[in-house]
Amino acid sequence: MSFDFALIVDSIPKMLMGIGLTFQLLFLSAALGLALAIILLLMRISGRWYLAAPTMVYIYIFRGTPILVQIFIIYYGLPQLEFVRDSIFWPILREPFGCAIVALTLNTGAYVSEILRGGVLGVDRGLKEAGAALGLSATHRFIYITSPIAIRLCLPAYSNDVISLMKSTALASTITLLDMMGIARTIVAETYAPYEIFISVMVIYLVLTWFIQRSFGWIEKRMSRHVKSEA
């Protein structure tokens, strides 16, 4: 049983061709998901039941079901429904890429909104009271006091979620997309060399993970300049 290094050398460039798609899936879903998460958060903490309740149901469903199932529902399932086929979204939902983005966005949006909410809840009550005592309106307090502190608090959890999102992009390979995982699976199917190929692509993913962690570590450091480290 030999380790075919030649195969690895040959395959890595091919798999790296998939990295473009991996990045697109990651960045687009992360950006859209964050926007969605902010909207969900504001609805959730609005204090109005007709905004908060649907949000809680949404989050419950998307965090309680496997993302693979969500992808399948959107890609394989939605075409069954006539009103989807007739809608303006159909061009997006017809394509595997569009479906993957939609699924990943909806999923990460649910998780990130809870992470943001955790950050908001972690802001010391006294600081909000001090803002109120100074006469700041609720909106001003949220923008200038709560948000900056909440963001710093939820960075660790958020960076973990971005890594999870990156790992989830690999599931796009199950709906025919040729991201890194998709290409890897294709090569393995042709060459029957799972160790060489899968381990190589694993290394690439680990490098990406490391890179994401470093970036967030840098951001956290910058945002924590004002925090005194415990001596």
């Binding site: 006294g126 001090a130 109120a132 100074l134 006469g135 700041l136 006091i145 004002h226």
Partner: protein, 250 residues
């Protein structure tokens, strides 16, 4: 005691406050004239913090009437913010905004609430930083300052809004003993300049030298209220006598 004709800057009439089934304030009536310095003392749980927190509506009273500087406190948002602009508060735990520098802390509210320009806000901020004797700390982060310095910044922050009344909620209780006097000195200066103040504190030396009236609260009620000399030398109520004997013997 109550003066009805408008020289009272703060007026509480028959105020009750409940937290669930627990009654924190029982039928409180109190008047504060402009320029008056009131010290409120009492055992923990007596309702003293709740009392001053009702004045700037950090707590909402359940019965009775509270009027601050001509505004009656109701659930109307406009009124609440109008009151809070005129009433400054200093907290036991300072509550400085950690993500803003010292001067940032001072400039935030004037810019947002009084719509001051950046330079106006900065000038006001530096003026009050000098008042509390730490102008050189302007660009530091709160976490870099000692407790006493942080509390002085908190006082300056409240003063930047040019309030008519200052409320102090146990301002020195969280400080190490050697820093208490620097804060009390600032408060004494403020009093001597004519600021109307209500101070919840255990610092009886401060009460004796600065207060016009000392209020003793216990179990949600105002038990006794007198000028300091009367209060300390000739307490009338048994509960007051008990409290004084407990805190003055060390």
């Amino acid at each position: 005691m109550s003066d009805g004709d408008g020289t009272n800057i703060i007026e509480l009439e028959n105020v009750d406050k409940f937290f669930g089934a627990f009654q924190a304030l029982k039928n409180i009536s109190l008047s504060v004239k402009k320029g008056e310095r009131i010290v409120v003392c009492g055992p923990s749980g007596s309702g003293k913090s709740t009392l001053i927190r009702c004045i700037n509506r950090l707590e909402e009273h359940d019965n009775g009437k509270i009027v601050v500087n001509g505004h009656e406190l109701t659930s109307d948002v406009k009124d609440i913010n109008a009151v809070r602009r005129e009433v400054g508060m200093v907290f036991q735990n300072f509550n400085l905004f950690p993500h803003l520098t010292v001067i940032g802390n001072l400039m935030l509210a004037p810019k947002l609430v009084r719509k001051s320009s950046k330079s106006e806000a900065r000038d006001t901020a530096m003026k009050y930083l000098e008042r509390v004797k730490i102008p050189e700390q302007a660009d530091k982060w709160p976490s870099q300052l000692s407790g006493g310095q942080q509390q002085r910044v908190a006082i300056a922050r409240a003063l930047c809004m040019n309030p008519e009344v200052m409320l102090f909620d146990e301002p020195t209780s969280a400080l190490d003993p050697e820093m208490i006097s620097e804060v009390l000195d600032v408060m004494t200066d403020l009093a001597q300049e004519g600021m109307t103040m209500i101070v919840v504190t255990h610092e009886m030396g401060f009460a004796r030298s600065v207060a016009d009236s000392v209020v003793f609260m216990d179990a949600g009620e105002i038990v006794e209220m007198n000028p300091p000399k009367e209060f300390f030398d000739n307490p009338k109520n048994e509960r007051t006598k008990l409290f004084l004997s407990q805190i003055l013997t060390h």
